[in-house]
Amino acid sequence: MAEKATAGSSGALVGGIGAPIANVLTIAGREFRAYFNGPMGYIVVTMFTLFVGILFFFLFGTLVLRKTTLQPMFQSMSALLPLLCAALSMRSFSEERQRGTIELLITLPVRDADVVVGKFFGSLGVLLVTLLATVTYPIAMSRMGDLDSGPVIGGYIGILLGGGAYIAIGMAFSSYMRDQLSSFIVTVLFLYVLWFVDKTLIFLPQGVSSVFEYLCSDFHFKSIARGVIDTRNLVYFATVITAGLMIAARSLSSRRWS
């Protein structure tokens, strides 16, 4: 309020400093709409839904198994999620820096943290829309036979949390890179390593392998997809999201690109 009073006393100022939550929502809304103002959002949603369908039906063999289970769909999603999230997060800062728009954004009376969190929720919103588009598969499956809703809901929560973590990681990379494509490539590589870690466990000694297992994102997806949401999984995703966003905020505050 003290700051606002200073502002008010200096002239016929109409605006002021907004509440952090209002700013986060405004920035998230703009970010979300930016995907659908251009072709980007539609391409991402369509491609993801299509590839999940292809993997689901052909590679993971639902048609062969002839069982009404969505386990293979979540496996497909988990395998494709790094690509989706890297595509969603690459533009968050790299594009703004490339075009210079970041200068106008952060010279508005908003905190750097609000910008980062707003952008995160904007991308998360697009992820949510993408996941909603894939709901057609469970609906189709439920017509083929009885579908246990517990693992389906669990699976979606797991993918959403994991996606959030991936987006936060992608934003951290994006905040350090001027070029969207490099940001995309580095994020994809990093996320696949993170996803793949538990597939190498048999080569590792016991103590090390449990650490690596905990670090692996796919391990947590599988765990949640079983329909059991464990605190361990939640802590994992919350930690990754917080760390990613903090790194991005720090990078933004340092203005290292200017």
Binding site: T6, A7, G11, L13, G15, R30, G100, L104, P109, R111
Partner: protein, 368 residues
């Protein structure tokens, strides 16, 4: 109230590694002042403005905007400033109204006022025609710059910081813009950077000139021009002067080279600055810059008589602001070329800027 300091920089320094983009800048700007911020590219104009708008933090020194320290109260400082960065970087995919609404929300303008405020800036900035386009990206650069200006004015800020606001405008738009700046400058503090000196002379009662990150001059454009203590002469002769019959039996041509001409003029007084000057075909001309205490027209005329050159033109000019500017920023690589590119009133003056850059006499100390 009229003496309120709205923008103040104290020993403001921004270093990138060992390179100081701005080096101990000191100035203050009061309420109601319209100040032109001049300097060649790389002189530190944008860096200074970015520090004042809290886009980047200074390495040392302090800056206050509307009484708010940019380091300690960045949000308060930003809320009293309307800022237009260079080349107006806007979200290309957004519509004009959509974008202004976005800014209005982040500026915490109450929702009930959005419509009225947006209508006002759309009118002020002449954006009516731009509203028919779906997105900002479809607008011309000039219109995008107007949208940038509209967002800077949206919250009716007491302070406006505009980084090269006229760079993408056509001459008519520029003239309109200058008129507009004069109008809003009556009750607001405006700091605008530009390379275009003609613009500054028209719209800014005060000018700050920066060179290599340091403040080189501060004052009214007329005062700065007078303070230079220089007078400028243009001296043009026929390149193929006719020798008079008394010196040669048959009429013959005497060819004078530009080097010879410059050398001879320098012979009058070693302190004279002599530069080549644009001339008509068949003639050669120099521009001479000398101390205003002595009138060099007599010397130049006598030189022509003595050398038997046909004198075509000899005139004395008042030193223009651009001259002062060039003097003060000597050594800033190719400054003159850039000024020329930015469009000077006198194209011939800019032509000689290069010669002057090479001439390493730094006379900036007598301007301080």
């Amino acid at each position: 109230m009229a003496t309120d300091v709205m923008i103040e920089a104290r020993d403001l320094t921004k270093r990138y590694g060992t390179y100081a983009a701005i080096d101990k800048l000191n100035f203050s700007i009061r309420r109601g002042e319209v100040v032109g911020f001049l300097g060649p590219n790389g002189a530190g104009k944008s860096t200074t403005m970015r520090v004042l708008t809290c886009f980047i933090a200074p390495s040392s020194g302090t800056a206050t905007v509307g009484g708010n320290d940019v380091f300690e109260k960045p949000l308060a400082a930003r809320s009293v400033v309307g800022y237009l960065p260079q080349r107006a970087p806007l979200y290309q995919e957004m519509g004009v109204i959509e974008y202004l609404q976005f800014v209005a929300k982040l500026r915490a303008i109450s929702a009930s006022e959005h419509k009225a405020r947006i209508k006002k800036v759309v009118d002020i900035c002449g954006l009516g025609d731009a509203l028919t386009k779906d997105s900002i990206g479809e607008l011309s650069k000039g219109f995008q710059q107007r949208v940038g200006l509209a967002q800077a004015l949206l919250h009716d800020p007491p302070i406006l910081i505009l980084d090269e606001p006229t760079s993408d405008l056509d001459p008519i738009e520029k003239a309109e813009f200058i008129e507009y700046i004069k109008a809003i400058g009556r009750d607001r503090t405006v700091m605008l950077s530009t390379h275009n000196l003609a613009e500054v002379e028209q719209s800014c009662p005060r000018v700050l000139i920066v060179s290599k990150g340091k403040l080189a001059a501060d004052g009214a454009p007329e005062d700065l021009a007078n303070r230079s203590g220089k007078a400028r002469y243009v001296f043009e002769i026929d390149a193929d002067s006719q020798k008079s019959p008394s010196h040669a039996r048959e009429s013959s041509k005497l060819h004078v080279s530009i080097d010879e001409l410059m050398e001879s003029v320098r012979g009058i007084d070693k302190d004279l600055k002599v530069m080549s000057h644009a001339s008509d075909p068949g003639s050669i001309a120099v521009q001479v810059l000398g101390d205003s205490a002595r009138d060099y027209r007599r010397d130049l005329f006598n030189l022509a008589v003595q050398k038997q050159w046909t004198l075509l033109e000899l005139r004395k000019d008042v030193v223009q602001l651009e001259e002062v500017f060039r003097e003060l920023t000597v050594g800033d690589a190719k400054a003159g070329d850039r000024i020329a590119a930015a469009g000077l009133k006198k194209p011939e003056a800019s032509k000689s800027a290069k010669d002057k850059d090479e001439d390493e006499d730094d006379e900036s100390e007598d301007k301080e």
